[in-house]
Symmetry: C2
């Protein structure tokens, strides 16, 4: 079948679909979507019919200009903030000796299957264009586990910063985009209990401190304690997951609402729900582990005891790392993902002054069985890691900047080379070249004969600290005018000592901190 024939068949099928939808009185939005596809197919046939004329077709082919639903562009201002935040985060990862890796944006679909529970329906699939069945990555943890199993790596400490994709309904979860950055740090390897786990929490704390994203609390809990608690309260084993995902909603819903879900939707007896209710309201420090270790119900449950002992050890290491004041053992922390097996944690930003939660800005835990899922011999590679919620951090810091009315500089230009008269473009290019050679960051006007005022205005608009002004008389006497853009002071400097003088003046600005950052 030729491309054209194939397209015509697709048009026929698409036309049938549209007619069916209209007959079935589907929503306007749904019908409009399918009509758009039909029109697109028709356009493609036109292009097939007159391929030499594609350019012309494109010129007249106007459509709503937008990014795909749930995605957005990032402006230079947004990128400047993002890059500065990411570089601070990377600096912390590097302080702890992390390497970085990268994996493809898509994976074989079967790699992702069965890892995300109910959320699997949010995975983006690629079209079957003849070849493998592929999906966009949903997180960075599953590709990491696939990477370890595939390369038989048993020890690594790596970070990975990249975008992931989820077909969330943006109206459902406000502010979350379908394309967003994840920023993960993980330690793989068989080590002694809670040592790498504690370092992950230390890293979260250093990152939030370095971004001044304070005050915050890092909540910790343990999968074994959750399981033991459910068992001790009498939850049937087959309901552990369902009940756990109900508990996970306690950061958004009240206990009454969660209890209702457990009893009415998930069929738990009221009596058992109330027992769970007693536990999930508890939070504290190591004295709480001691109290629960002698709790009537939990003290009889092996799983609960193992979980409590682990948390106790973790809290001791947190104490040595000097982060105890920000760590809270919290029995309501459940975290939904299927692959956690041990410690789980989540960092929450607190509203300034009040104890109102602004939301989760980091989360993670131990997942000792995920890599084995990919290994032919089920070989286990224990892992623990954390994902920094950079998108929420970007948003929080953007708001702070706006509130402080501070502008982010999007370039780092040191000096702008201006001319005061006409016909000096060649002199400008020559001087720029000299300054680039001496490693300065330099801009100049792309107009042949720009107006001096326009050039100086550009410097002010872009917070460029210095301007060099070149006129015929300066060229004759081998000097330039060096102008401080903020103070508007001007100095005459010899061409031969320009670079030294400029370097000195830039150094002064940096020392005084008056360079607009």
């Amino acid at each position: 079948m030729s491309t054209k024939e194939s397209l015509e068949q697709q048009i026929k099928e698409q036309g049938d679909l549209v007619r069916k939808l209209k007959a079935a009185k589907e929503t306007k939005e749904r019908i409009a979507e399918e009509v758009a596809k039909l029109l697109d197919l028709k356009k493609q046939v036109q292009n097939e019919e007159s391929p030499g004329d594609q350019n012309h077709t494109a010129v007249n082919q106007k459509f709503t200009l937008k990014t795909p639903k749930g995605t957005r562009d990032y402006s230079p201002e947004q990128m400047a903030l993002r890059m500065s935040v990411l570089s601070k985060i990377i600096a912390v990862f590097k302080k702890h000796g992390a390497e970085t890796i990268d994996t493809p944006v898509f994976e074989l679909k079967e790699v992702l299957t069965g890892k995300y529970g109910e959320d699997s329906k949010l995975i983006y699939d690629l079209k079957d264009q003849g070849g493998e069945i592929l999906s966009l990555r949903y997180d960075l943890t599953v590709p990491f586990a696939r990477y370890l199993a595939m390369n038989k790596i048993t020890n690594i400490k790596r970070y990975h910063i990249a975008k992931v994709y989820r077909r969330d309904n943006p109206s459902m979860s406000r502010g979350r985009y379908r394309e967003f950055y994840q920023c993960d740090f993980d330690i793989a390897g068989a080590y002694d209990p809670m040592i790498p786990d504690a370092e992950c929490i230390k890293i979260v704390s250093e990152i939030l401190d370095s971004l001044q994203a304070t005050p915050y609390v890092i909540k910790v809990n343990h999968r074994l304690l959750l399981d033991g608690m459910f068992e001790a309260c009498g939850v049937p084993k087959t309901s552990f997951r369902n009940i756990c995902s109900a508990v996970d909603k306690l950061d958004k819903l009240s206990w009454e609402e969660v209890r209702k879900e457990m009893v009415e939707e998930k069929g738990l007896s009221e009596d058992i729900a109330d027992k769970i209710g007693e536990y999930v309201k508890l939070n504290g420090k190591s004295e709480l582990t001691d109290k629960l270790l002698i709790d009537e119900r939990l003290s009889k449950n092996k799983s609960a005891i193992a979980g409590l002992e682990a948390i106790k050890l973790l809290l001791k290491y947190c104490d040595l790392f000097d982060i105890s004041s920000n760590v809270s053992f919290d029995l309501s922390l459940a975290r939904g993902l299927d692959y956690y097996t041990g410690i789980i944690y989540e960092a929450v930003l607190l509203g300034e002054g009040e104890e109102v939660s602004v939301g989760s800005v980091a989360g993670g835990g131990r997942y000792d069985n995920l890599v084995a899922m990919f290994d032919v011999k089920n070989k286990q590679v224990p892992c623990v890691g954390v994902s920094i919620g950079v998108e929420r951090l970007f948003a929080v810091l953007e708001q702070k900047l706006q509130a402080a009315n501070r502008k982010v500089r999007t370039t780092e230009v040191d000096v702008y080379v201006c001319t005061a008269q006409k016909n000096l473009v060649e002199e400008r290019l020559k001087l720029c070249n000299e300054l680039w050679q001496d490693d300065f960051k330099v801009e100049f006007s792309y107009k042949k004969n720009p107006k001096l005022l326009a050039q100086l205005q550009y410097c002010e608009d872009n917070s460029i600290p210095f301007a060099i002004i070149l006129g015929e008389s300066e060229i004759k006497s081998g000097v330039v005018k060096l102008r401080n853009v903020i103070t508007r002071e001007e100095f005459e400097v010899k061409r031969g000592s320009l670079s030294d003088e400029l370097r000195r003046k830039l150094g002064e600005l940096n020392l005084n901190g008056t360079v607009p950052a």
Copy 2:
């Protein structure tokens, strides 16, 4: 229809397809692909049948572990090299005052339609999961133009480093992956002729110099000269594109082969082909523009003259930027993409010592009409830009490192905290914490009681310059042993002055350049 019913129908259809392919004696590879899809569907039905058992299913569900065809993972060693190359490139962009932006990895399919000529068939489409029709980006230039038109931006100088996607057949173009980095710098705005164009070439030259990717030549040509030359030789206007894309192959094919394609495949008369042959073998500096400006045929063609005047001006500016020795006016340079309208250029690495081309490492040109394609009123935003072929540069530099037998360090750890006896894990954590607080990059063993030899071996394996050794006697007397890992010298240092001493010693290493980079 339930998910299960839908899957069962898909299985039936897929089974039919496989039988058909077998009957039609299709290639083994093709049949295997469709069988794999069939098996995948069957697995999904199993999961639907026992959803509570997914975890278990996944454990037993083994399959070939691989990245999708044409993609790969990047190891810490590869990433360390890539990050170091990219940071040098970004430094050059910043020296020229560039900002950065980002756009989504996918676009509405119609944004990409009609921009890539014959190559459009290589675009990756996303599956229609109910919603918009999307494709993965094919380059960064078209999304940039869409961004400008959508936000009505008429002036910007931006770089963008991100991955793009092409369903190339890897066997056809060896070494090129389907997912690869592009690294673009573009200047948008209505300015005076050739000033921004010359700065793009300057930037290419600075980047190749800073990566020591030498020797190289940057070839330049002009779309108007190519059109004028074709016209003057008698090529019918409707064949310009076809003939141009034949000329574009001169970097890989001989003139005889290209001539054959023109005459036999594209129906050009032998006489006209020979005239073109005379021109495309020419290359030189500004004296060649002068010569061609009085050429019998070209001097009568307006388009050719405009192109030649433009190149002459460009070469003058290159002279002022001190890059003339690396720039060559080359009439065989054609570049296939549909959207170029003015100057075009391409940087080629030359084999060491010989004049053998290693291949293109950067390319670009002026595209004054692309943004208008997206604007309702066809408003023009003139643009010129360059794309750095970072993938080829990575490969070249990787080979150089291998040839020199040099190892890339994948972390930046300053010091490793060891203990010499058992039961000192808490002391180790405390000391690490002190050093992190003083901003050192520090690692330690995640084992409770690691062997000293194993700890020191780790330092040597990972090129960590210093180790601190902590024993009971040291703790009692408030000192530590500081060991230079390379020389194996050990010094006793007081805890109180450890940070200062360590800082001093690290400074010495950096000065002497003996830190393995």
